[in-house]
Symmetry: C2
Subunit: 168 residues, 2 copies
């Protein structure tokens, strides 16, 4: 996986960034330092250059990406129109969680627009966490749920005006 870019090793070197990113769940309590360390142990980190395709629309996908730093364009091939940028995301965002969760193909491509450090978390790792440590699993699933709820809000807020008549 991602053999052609710099491997930064396990995410233990990024405990603070990861804590900063995921420790905002509204339900249950905060992640303990041990819980973060366990998650970090599961995550492999990489450093991608600009214009690097992290995720390709249409591929199968059994991992998600946690953007630690940098910037990523989310691009979608829109019928009769072609490939368009539908979102720009940065540090603190997950990418690829949709396919990880429901096994459909990747909904969009994710291409770096700046050098980007990211962590990878596979479905296999998620399964293991859910089975071995269901309480930690709940906290992580809540992180994903909150990110997705915010994503739907942002996407609707950006698109609805022009869907109903006010071009962006």
């Amino acid at each position: 996986m991602y053999e052609n870019i710099t491997n930064l090793g396990k995410a233990e070197a990024f405990v603070d960034e990861i804590l900063e990113i995921i420790d905002h769940i509204k339900l249950l309590d905060h992640f303990s330092v041990d819980e973060i360390k366990i998650l970090c142990h599961y995550m492999q980190c990489f450093a991608a250059p600009r214009d690097y395709t992290l995720i390709q629309e249409g591929d199968k996908g059994d991992f998600l990406i946690l953007v630690l730093s940098g910037a990523v364009d989310v691009q979608k091939d829109i019928p009769k129109i072609g490939i368009k940028k539908i979102a720009e995301v940065g540090a603190g965002v997950t990418l690829g969680e949709m396919s990880l969760i429901d096994s459909q193909t990747r909904f969009a491509s994710c291409v770096t627009s700046a050098p980007t450090d990211f962590a990878v978390f596979t479905r296999e790792s998620l399964n293991e966490v859910l089975i071995e440590m269901p309480r930690l699993g709940n906290k992580f699933l809540l992180v994903l749920l909150q990110l997705m709820a915010q994503r739907l809000r942002d996407t609707c807020d950006r698109f609805l005006p022009s869907v109903f008549g006010v071009p962006i």
Copy 2:
């Protein structure tokens, strides 16, 4: 809650519908009958007539709704444009999970367009399930995640063509 419409009592009377609706998670195993019964015990059911507001945009919200039968319009007040229907949903869909998850105000209003039976699941109940039965909690959060992933796909597929130039 919902005092002015018919109270159908606990969801135990709807075990089959609820099993049909939520038992499609791709990760972990299926819900056991006992697990479904536990969830049903937490859910109170109601029968709403047509044109009944289940959820009001802007309200605080600490419960989600599982639509058992019927049809609901999701309406949003779009700046400079007014209230528009942004989605139509039916049996098997949750509504109100966004505020339940991240405590923001209701993102849109949900108004029945046909007589609708629904189950209510509160944040208090979700907290109790997550704490008392974390494995059942995992499965339920996965249900919500799958529904939200599908919602983002549907919303983007419907809106992107007209955002980028092909009016609906």
